[in-house]
């Protein structure tokens, strides 16, 4: 039990300050915060940046792996420099990458592309960031119900991966009984293949802050948190600068920047709340939903960076305008593309664009494409016969995949599917929080299965993958476990010849 008035949210910053996992650090932070020492040890051992502080990190995400990140690790090994292979660092457009102990990029490829300046786009990464906060002013002149109509009419879906209609959550939080409420920005971008929020925060931070301010005003929050992944120092600097500049427009709104410490699972909204509260990032049971019981037990609106960044232009130009930007679903969408394409990067296209359209924007394929992941590791793999399938929330679900965070990765025929599966299963094994048995045991089992198959060529190694997937999907607490078998399952399904064994 923690002490009266314990300061749990300070735990992670203090752990970082004292150097992370090392003897005596938990005791020191316990004394400083009033949180039990064991709890703090539980926290410090959970987050990779805290558990292994002060080392170089080499990305082993799929795009970096395909671009040869093993060579970076080998080079460090040869020099005897301490390093850690880590899950996707969110720089797939610049693969392969390596960061130093301060999270700064030290090895990377050329910077990725973006869609050129086009004022017709709601986010428009290529445009000049606008710090006038005219949308916020316009919102303040609007009737809240009229605003909600616009938001609903825009058809804006959550851009973090779930595609849940934004207006429902906004309305739910606003309608909670009077009391404290929070808005939280999910900027813990970590899905392999995804780096759109990074670019948004770097290039258009005011879009995000303005959207956030509108959200706070609408739901009645006076404090907001931006939970930013710890490996993003550059977006952090951009946000800090922008926040300072935005302050005069925000009317006392308290926006706090909370840094992550290396845990993909904290992109899951309730795990994210736990992390802000200074705890292990283990997802909560739902219900209750965060709109009812969220941060510090109060009603909380959680939105992704891109979702909020869409809001200012919806206010200024109306819901219909936004909706009509889309092809098969509402709005435009930031698509990330990396892997075997000419110009990896972030492209803002109508929602429902196809792979071929996206790759066209990215300068074409490199080599002969064989497979792609439409939405990061969680979406599994699709064969090229889906290259003209609209990349949207509903359509991809129908073909056993999902748009997710729209982190599209293209694999050409030089890639062995079993190896590709292995990279993704390593990712899920490393990032499972370990709380519930189906995911904790299942993720390790699936990774061991693909390892055993690669090593032995024996298809019997894979005989239980479907049963495991079924149980992980039915039995896991959160989405991670539910989708963690998809790379293996979809690869087996769509590329059976590569899993016939020897």
């Amino acid at each position: 039990m923690q002490k009266h008035n314990a300061n749990r949210p300070a735990v992670m910053d203090l752990l970082e300050h004292h150097g992370g996992l090392a003897p005596g650090v938990s005791a020191k932070v316990s004394e400083e915060t009033g949180v039990p020492e064991a709890d703090i040890y539980g926290v410090v051992s959970f987050y990779t940046l805290l558990a292994k502080p002060g080392v170089a990190r080499v990305c082993q995400g799929i795009s970096c792996a395909m671009a040869g990140s093993d060579a970076l690790a080998d080079a460090l090994q040869a020099k005897g420099e301490p390093y850690e292979k880590v899950s996707c660092l969110g720089y797939c457009d610049q693969a392969p990458v390596q960061i130093d102990k301060d999270m700064e990029l030290t090895k990377h490829g050329p910077r990725g592309s973006i869609t050129p300046d086009d004022p017709a786009l709601p986010i428009n990464l290529g445009g000049q960031d606008d710090a006038s906060y005219s949308a916020l002013k316009a919102f303040e002149g609007m009737d809240p119900d009229a605003f909600l109509d616009q938001l609903q009419g825009s058809g804006l879906q959550g851009r973090g991966g779930a595609g849940f209609p934004a207006w429902i959550k906004w309305k739910a939080v606003r309608n909670e009984p009077i009391g404290t409420r929070y808005v939280v920005v999910n900027a813990d971008e970590g899905e392999p293949g995804t780096f759109k929020d990074r670019e948004t925060m770097l290039r258009r931070p005011h879009r995000l802050i303005e959207g956030l301010a509108i959200a706070c005003k609408y739901v009645g929050a006076t404090t907001a948190y931006i939970y930013l992944r710890g490996e993003f120092p550059a977006p952090r600097r951009a946000l800090e600068l922008a926040l300072a500049k935005a302050r005069p427009h925000l009317g006392g709104l308290d926006i706090r920047l909370t840094m992550g410490h290396g845990a993909y699972i904290c992109g899951e909204e309730t795990a994210l709340l736990e992390a802000i509260e200074g705890k292990r990032g283990m997802p909560r049971l739902k219900p209750p939903y965060p709109t009812q019981v969220g941060l510090f037990g109060e009603p909380t609106l959680i939105n992704n960076v891109e979702t909020l960044a869409c809001v200012p232009e919806i206010v200024l130009r109306g819901g219909d305008w936004f909706k009509n930007l889309g092809k098969t679903e509402a709005g435009s969408k930031l698509y990330c593309i990396s892997g075997h394409v000419e110009k990896a990067g972030v492209y803002e296209l109508p929602l429902g664009a196809t792979l071929n359209e996206l790759v066209q924007a990215a300068g074409g394929y490199v080599g002969t494409p064989k497979a792609f992941s439409p939405g990061g590791a969680s979406s599994g793999f699709l064969p090229m016969e889906h290259a003209d399938t609209p990349l949207d929330f509903k359509g991809l679900t129908k073909v056993g995949s999902m748009l997710g965070s729209a982190g599209v990765v293209v694999l050409n025929d030089t890639v062995d599917m079993a190896a590709a599966v292995r990279w993704q299963q390593i990712f899920f094994e490393d990032e499972s929080c370990g709380q519930c048995a189906p995911c904790r045991i299942g993720c390790r089992m699936q990774r061991q299965a693909i390892d055993a198959f690669i090593e032995s060529g024996d298809v019997a190694s894979l005989e239980h993958t479907e049963d495991l997937h079924w149980e992980m999907e039915e039995g896991s607490i959160c989405g991670l476990g539910m989708v963690a078998s998809l790379p293996l399952l979809t690869a087996q399904k769509h590329f059976p010849s590569e899993f016939e064994g020897s």
């Binding site: 039990m1 923690q2 003897p23 005596g24 938990s26 005791a27 316990s30 039990p36 020492e37 064991a38 709890d39 703090i40 040890y41 539980g42 051992s45 959970f46 990779t48 845990a263 292990r280 283990m282 049971l285 219900p287 094994e429 490393d430 990032e431 499972s432 929080c433 370990g434 709380q435 519930c436 048995a437 189906p438 904790r440 045991i441 299942g442 993720c443 390790r444 089992m445 061991q448 055993a452 005989e463 239980h464 049963d467 495991l468 079924w470 149980e471 999907e473 039915e474 039995g475 896991s476 607490i477 539910m482």
Partner: protein, 359 residues
């Protein structure tokens, strides 16, 4: 403070059952006599829903839901034994077996206090046999005289940690690490003696699989123990204890189940572990009488009683009954205290009788 909760009706396995607002599906299932297996549920701590054993099918929900945490709603339609639920249970148990030490019959090994996982496997069966996952777990809490933790038998239900934090509130242990490496640990992997642990042994009591066990009785076969219900002899709380005996020795002390006694299933270090004195070699086993040499010598009961009677009566005869004092013990039984005052007042004629402690 709380209003009377409203009654509501739901359908459980095709039958109408009543429930109160605020109850969980597990509450209702238990009352209806449904066999819903659990590992991480325990009334004394908040539900965590992490073991996934108790999942049931709730109409309108996309996936199975943890009955331990899912609240009842009017009109809910719930199934506890559908094909889907059964498949889930068997597959989940298969997965647990791949992460658990097994015996020669491929069943979860019996532990000093029984293993509910083994019982679930026997009751519900399993799916395919899955390869062992050999999860790498770091643990070093052994430096303590009483509590043994065996990660090979741990299902990470987190009950020990939650009990330690929410009930005993000393928060000596935690979930540590992540993913398959997750384990139960102390801060900096210290021995329990060097932590805030007060060795109440609650972690042992709530552990469903025997991963946490009593060191002193690790080798004792719990199935051969006799159990005698009694009251703890230390402080004034009056905790109910089960004294487990084997070969005329107390080998283990546990609490009767939570819910029916003043201690509600809880014990402290004294009640659970400080029983070594009972069989201690220093115990007095024979009456002693002081000899002319000034030392105490063993003697017969007959002689000891005679010497005591003569000695006390001698004082009474010489100085009067009120020159005698009778000091009773708050450690002895009520009956003994009654008899001591009776001895003092009726046999010796003095009211100089008092117990050792006024509080």
């Amino acid at each position: 403070m709380t209003e009377t909760p409203t009654e509501l009706t739901l359908t459980l396995d095709g039958e109408q059952v009543h429930a109160k607002d605020g109850e969980t599906l597990l509450d209702v299932c238990r009352r209806a006599g449904k066999e819903v297996p659990t590992l991480c549920a325990e009334d004394r701590v908040d539900p965590m829903g992490s073991c996934r054993m108790c999942l049931v099918e709730v109409e309108g929900q996309r996936r199975l839901q943890p009955s331990c945490a899912f609240k009842v709603q009017a009109g809910q339609v719930v199934q506890t034994a559908s094909d889907k639920v059964k498949r889930h249970r068997q597959l989940l148990l298969s997965m647990y077996l791949a992460d658990h030490e097994l015996d020669e019959d491929d069943l979860p090994r019996e532990r000093g206090t029984g293993n509910q996982l083994r019982q679930h496997v026997l009751d519900h069966g399993t799916g395919p046999k899955l390869p062992a996952i050999n999860a790498p777990r770091e643990y070093r809490m052994e430096n303590n005289p009483y509590i043994h933790f065996d990660p090979e038998a741990c299902v990470l239900c987190n009950l020990c940690v939650r009990y330690c934090d929410e009930v005993e509130a000393v928060s000596a242990i935690t979930l540590a690490g992540r993913g398959a490496k997750t384990t139960i640990a102390t801060a900096d992997q210290k021995g329990l003696l060097d932590t805030t642990c007060e060795m109440c042994g609650g972690c042992i009591a709530v552990c469903p699989t025997g991963a946490m066990t009593e060191k002193p009785s690790l080798a004792s076969d719990f199935r051969e123990e006799e159990v005698v219900r009694s009251t703890c002899n230390f402080c004034g709380v009056g905790c109910q204890v089960n004294l487990h005996t084997q070969d005329n020795k107390v080998v283990r002390v546990t609490s009767p189940p939570a819910g029916e006694t003043v201690n509600d299933g809880n014990l402290c270090i004294k009640g659970r572990f400080s029983m070594e004195f009972i069989q201690h070699e220093d115990r007095l086993t024979q009456p002693l009488v002081r000899g002319d040499d000034g030392a105490l010598h063993t003697t017969t009961w007959e002689n000891a009683l005679k010497v005591a009677a003569q000695g006390l009566m001698g004082v009474k005869e010489k100085y009067g009954a009120d020159s005698l004092g009778f000091i009773s013990s708050s450690r002895c039984t009520g009956e003994e205290n009654y008899l001591l005052q009776k001895l003092s007042r009726a046999a010796f004629g003095t009211n100089n009788c008092h117990q050792c402690a006024a509080t």
